[in-house]
């Protein structure tokens, strides 16, 4: 607002050295040699590091990724070398002088190709990699992980069905494209301390991994994270931090800055996963779903990173929010020679929702039932089970039907799905339901610490990164509400420092409010208890007779008798100078409960604590001659449990809707036949701009989640989930042909129309 907000790359330091990356110009090639002799002679160069210098393999689920390419490159943009120099331009110039010779390999340029029999292998040593989490790779293949879901009996479901549909769906990998590119500063002090400043969603993960891969005690590693300029899941991956540390170490421990260029951020660092899917659904003539048979083949790119977990959650929630008794799903995490994928807003759910909700529309069409009516017949409810056979309760699932009914009104469904505007122009609507649960490790934990200032205001310290989701504001609000004081009296520490802030798993999965919110409430209880203890002495009563609210500790029986919190929070001083109490430190923590691991053969288990649900709609104005279209309305209704901050909640939802529409309308890498990403700049990698957005209609249903702070469910990601499907449903109706691929550019619609025309000839 004033330019005072500081992000990682805004800091500088005396003697700061600059690092620059050399990245791969090929998607799959053997590195025959790397000649550094010319580069080393360049002015200002302090150090150059290549893969051979740090031959450790990394990964949070499976250790398959070298810090810098080792022996071969597996995707276009893969970092090969890092040059450290006195200035950025010197580092860049020296990079140009590194001479790498390659032997080109054939490229695995799609999931389809990766799954051919006798495929080209992206990883020859797949079976020998260290697994951090248990995954199921397949020998001599590109399959890194496979999730099987077997619920009920698919043959019975098939027998019961009277109408079935089957179709293929797909979308290419794409990018998070946060406006701030990833940036790191790393330093290794002479006493062995390591300081990393990074634009990360997972500073605690960075600390753990630096310690693990470089064999440094965790207590020597401190990770600092200031404001982060957007993450959307992309900054939860740990990548540049490892390179920057290696660069600093090679340069004698000096402080080194490494910032991605936009080009490297788009292809070199991990992006958004791609998918090829096949869905078969069956229903009775009356429109009751009887079975789902689903193949999700995820394009994880060259390395697994979070790809295996995304594959898993997509498999476990494969049907979307519908009651289906017989479910068969194989969800595969597949290697290709594309940039690798990591977590992305919605974490597998936007991905699974696109095929499922398109399939729902296709089946509704076959059944000749209105798409909303068809969904309403099948929405999942408390008492039903998920594909992973978790029993749903009133608390752990929201009300899908209610969301859908509300969407129906907001989009004015009853005027008709198609409205003619002129001989060329029509308006059409499409809808989508969705659900989402987060996949957290069964032992994910978070903490919160409260301390008090002399004026009674409170400092809240937690490990959440502020990334634009307003989480810290909501946490302050949760605390303010509990202590009945004004939010302005609460100071939330905006920067994260792993040395002083309590642990928080990762700022992802919309789970921060749930996890840290609960920790904050417990810290508040803890502080209240301590305040009551001191107050009871001052007020000459039992601690149980006292309560705290509105900055006072008062007698419950007579609130006029009180002592101000500011007078007891740091010890109470009698007029004669005697003091009692001592400084209050409120501590709270939270750990995920009752999550169980998943059965490998059936997918049975409890992967998540709750399922947030919602329904969405998109209305477009479509030109039947040119196939161009405009976004007119986009609707989201989600069951938020409880809306803590309406303006911020709306902003989160519309922001995510915008991202979903941007993804669905225009985002997706274009690869040439050699696996090179052609759109690696914002000049060609396009996002929605001002004025291209539709009018947003957002509403909330409130079915409280009993164990969440004030019943609030996460909502930072959800707006994105159903947008691609709702848009595709709207445009398929408009064009009169099934549109089962993203992005939905006019050319694709034209192509489908043309295909239809030649089919009927």
């Amino acid at each position: 607002m004033t330019g005072a907000a500081k992000y990682t790359a805004d800091f500088t330091a005396p003697g700061l050295l600059h690092a620059s990356l050399l990245t791969s110009p090929h998607a799959h090639a053997k590195i025959k040699s790397i000649d550094l002799s010319e580069a080393e002679k360049c002015p200002g160069v302090r150090a150059i590091v290549i893969g051979q210098d740090i031959p450790v393999l990394t990964g949070t689920t499976v250790e398959d990724r070298p810090i810098l390419a080792l022996n071969k490159v597996r995707y276009f943009g893969e970092p090969i070398a890092v040059v450290v120099a006195d200035s950025e331009h010197e580092a860049q110039s020296a990079c140009q002088q590194i001479n790498v010779t390659y032997e080109l390999y054939p490229v695995v340029n799609s999931v389809h190709q990766a799954l051919e029999s006798k495929p080209i292998l992206v990883h020859e040593q797949l079976m020998n990699y260290t697994q951090v989490q248990k995954i199921q790779p397949e020998a001599n293949s590109n399959i890194a992980n496979q999730i099987k879901v077997r619920k009920g009996d698919i043959d019975v479901g098939r027998d019961q069905s009277e109408v079935t549909m089957t179709a293929d769906f797909s979308f290419p990998p794409s990018d998070h494209a946060a406006m701030e590119t990833r940036s790191v500063r790393a330093e290794l002090l002479p006493n062995g301390e390591v300081h990393i400043h990074t634009s990360s969603q997972g500073p605690f993960m960075v600390k753990e991994l630096i310690s693990r891969y470089f064999l440094i005690d965790e207590d020597k590693v401190t990770v600092h994270t200031p404001l982060v300029g957007g993450g959307f899941g992309g900054k939860a991956a740990v990548q540049l931090e490892l390179i920057a540390f290696a660069a600093s170490r090679a340069a004698g421990g000096k402080i080194v800055k490494l910032s991605n260029t936009r080009e490297t951020d788009i292809t070199g660092s991990p992006g958004h996963i791609g998918l090829e899917a096949n869905v078969k659904l069956g229903a009775t003539k009356g429109g009751k779903l009887t079975f789902a048979e689903i193949h999700y083949n995820f394009n994880a790119g060259a390395y697994v990173d979070e790809g295996s977990d995304i594959t898993e959650i997509a498999g476990l929630n494969c049907t979307g929010p519908y009651k289906i008794d017989h479910v068969w799903c194989n969800s595969l995490c597949v290697y290709t020679n594309h940039p690798y994928a990591t977590s992305f807003r919605g974490y597998g759910h936007g991905e699974l929702t696109f095929p499922i909700e398109r399939a729902m529309d296709l089946l509704a069409e076959k059944l000749r039932i209105d798409p909303i009516a068809f969904r309403l017949k099948n929405t999942i409810k408390p008492g039903d089970t998920t594909p992973s056979q978790t029993k749903l309760t009133k608390s752990n699932i929201g009300n899908v039907a209610k969301c859908l009914e509300r969407v129906k009104t907001l989009i004015n469904w009853d005027e008709g799905q198609t409205v003619n505007l002129s001989d060329r122009l029509i308006r059409t609507k499409g809808i989508s339901c969705f659900w989402k649960s987060s996949i957290t490790p069964t032992d994910a934990t978070s903490g919160a610490i409260l301390t008090f200032n002399k004026d009674g205001s409170i400092n809240l310290s937690c490990g959440v990164v502020e990334i634009g989701q307003g989480t810290k504001t909501v946490l302050a609000q949760i605390l303010a509400e509990r202590l009945k004081i004004h939010e302005s009296k609460i100071h939330v520490m905006m920067d994260v420092d792993t040395q002083t802030n309590p642990q928080h798993w990762k700022t992802v999965a919309s789970s921060s409010v749930y996890m840290v919110g609960n920790a904050v409430l417990r810290a508040a209880e803890d502080a209240i208890q301590q305040l009551c203890q001191t107050a009871s002495i001052v007020l000459r009563c039992e601690p149980g007779d006292v309560d705290v609210a509105e900055a006072r500790a008062f007698l419950i029986s007579n609130p006029d008798k009180y002592v101000s919190v500011k007078d007891i929070a740091n010890g109470y001083k009698y007029t004669n100078g005697n003091s009692i109490g001592g400084t209050v430190i409120g501590r709270g923590n939270f750990i995920m409960k009752h999550l169980t691991s998943i059965d490998k053969e059936t997918g049975k288990g409890t992967p998540a604590s709750d399922w947030t649900v919602g329904a969405q709609a998109v209305e477009v104005e479509f030109d039947t001659k040119s196939y161009n279209y405009k976004l007119i309305h986009a609707v989201s209704v989600l069951d938020a449990g409880k809306v803590l901050h309406p303006k911020s909640a709306r902003g989160q939802v519309t922001g995510a809707m915008s991202m979903g529409l941007s993804w669905a309308t225009r985002e997706g890498f274009s690869f040439d036949k050699n696996g090179i990403v052609l759109d690696n700049q914002f000049r060609t990698y396009k996002m929605l701009r001002y004025g291209e957005n539709p009018t947003y209609l957002v509403d909330f249903i409130e079915t409280p989640q009993i164990d969440a702070p004030y019943g609030a469910r996460g909502l930072g990601e959800h707006g994105i989930i159903g947008m691609p499907a709702a848009l595709a449903n709207s445009l398929s109706t408009a064009a009169g042909v099934p549109l089962n691929q993203l992005p939905l550019v006019p050319e694709y619609i034209w192509e489908q129309k043309r295909g239809e025309a030649s089919d009927s000839n």
């Binding site: 004033t2 330019g3 701030e180 634009g468 922001g655 915008s658 700049q681 001002y690």
Partner: protein, 156 residues
């Protein structure tokens, strides 16, 4: 290789040592510590680096510092309590805030140069900037609140 450039930045006379190949964005951030202008692409595509040069919006990544000799630069650090800054706060025109200074500089120029901009002009100008976090709704509210053409614009 370095040379000296004199210019005015936020109403202060400045003299900096630069490489001729330095862009204004680099000079502002690295020599003058004015980090409000952000690099988002350094390719003219995103607008995060927008500043005012003689009161006109410019992408500081598309300009050499050498080109700005004797000219007057305004960055977000040079704006104080302007209507558009207040409007962005009031209307929640930002989330992560990374695009914000660029947007504000562009909006500020628009409000000064075309206080009665019509819907086309507003869109034409603001399409120069990308925001990845918001859905642009709040940014629209913010700019509309400082322009004179409220009624005409909101209906469009």
């Amino acid at each position: 290789m370095k040379k000296t450039i004199d210019f005015t930045v936020n109403n202060e006379q400045k003299s900096v040592q630069i490489r001729s190949a330095d862009t204004l964005l680099i000079t502002l951030r690295e020599q003058l510590g004015l980090t409000g202008a952000k690099p988002g692409c350094e390719n003219g595509d995103c607008g995060a680096c927008t500043v005012l040069v003689d009161d006109q919006p410019m992408k500081s990544c598309l300009m050499l510092t050498a080109e700005t000799a004797n000219r007057s630069i305004t960055t977000i650090e040079g704006l104080h309590d302007t209507p558009i800054q207040k409007a962005f706060l009031e209307h929640w025109g930002f989330q992560c805030g990374y695009c914000t200074s660029g947007f504000i500089m562009n909006c500020h120029a628009l409000a000064n140069i075309h206080p009665d901009a019509n819907a086309y002009e507003i869109e034409n100008w603001l399409q120069s900037n990308i925001c990845r976090c918001t859905g642009y709704e709040e940014i629209k509210e913010a700019i509309m609140s400082v322009l004179k053409t409220k009624e005409a614009g909101t209906s469009g």
